[in-house]
Amino acid sequence: MSKQASSKVITGTVQNSKNGNVYEHAMMITDAMMETIIQVQNINDDSNAPMQLLIECLALDGVGEVFKLDMHFPFLDIEDHRQMLENFTHGSLWKMKGMFAIGHADEQTTITLVSPDYHSLATEDIPNVKAAFKINGKFHKYRA
């Protein structure tokens, strides 16, 4: 990759690992942020990549509709990794805020929060949030 003079943009190439196609890509870290409430569905604790976690979730948009969201924590030390495995149990609820990536390949769209900040919900909000996941997820293809 080469950095252009007087620009924050870095240019390079990206290769699709499935079909081998190579694309030019210009990269700049923007402040694209997303905030939501999530319910943990599955934790992918890859023993080949012990310092990162991929967590599959359901999330709520601004009117309480359910959508599928991934969270990626790529750079964890041992203590953070242990703590997250302890925190992100199946079904647990969290407020999340962080940089988002949107991928689109093979007609599938994925939404991923990268190293988001996370906080637990206020106790009084938990019943309403659980109801939203349960009722609004019931008719959704990603059922809670």
Partner: protein, 146 residues
């Protein structure tokens, strides 16, 4: 504390025009803090006056995620006056760049995922960032499906 409307659970009926089939389903209305912020490049702007005199401005855009990949985004404004509507039409024009932030909805069905921002705040892109942001849309604009 998340603000709750008095009646949290409503029933919706959707009728498919082609077949007249109807689907009944419940919806639990919850309005959590779900916001999204991004740079956008405007593709088209449409303005409507509905039969009840309400106003709507629909904007189709390209947007950037955090590492500058491009995705499609819709913006929906419901201005409360013609003055505000005209101000939106003046500021949002084809090819224009903006930074937007607001409440989002995500419609994920068999036809794909649609991202919509509702009445977002907007700001022009800082002068020293315009060239970089423009170049990201230019170079990555075809990246939506790869």
């Amino acid at each position: 504390m998340i603000e709750q409307p008095k009646r949290q659970i409503s029933e919706r009926v959707i009728q498919r025009c082609e077949t007249d089939n109807t689907n009944h389903f419940e919806h639990c209305m919850l309005m959590p803090t779900a916001t999204m912020a991004s740079f956008i490049k405007i593709k088209t702007v449409r303005s409507y006056v509905h039969p009840d005199a309400s106003l709507q401005v629909c904007i189709d855009c390209l947007a950037l995620n955090y590492e500058a990949d491009v995705f499609e985004l819709e913006i929906n404004y419901t201005p409360h006056s013609i003055i505000i509507r005209d101000q939106l039409l003046k500021e949002f024009h084809q090819g224009g760049l903006m930074h937007v932030q607001g409440s989002y909805s995500i419609d994920d069905d068999d036809s794909g995922v649609t991202f919509t921002l509702h009445d977002p705040e907007y700001h022009s892109v800082a002068a020293d960032e315009v060239i970089d942001v423009e170049s990201l849309f230019l170079k990555n604009g075809s990246s939506w499906d790869r």
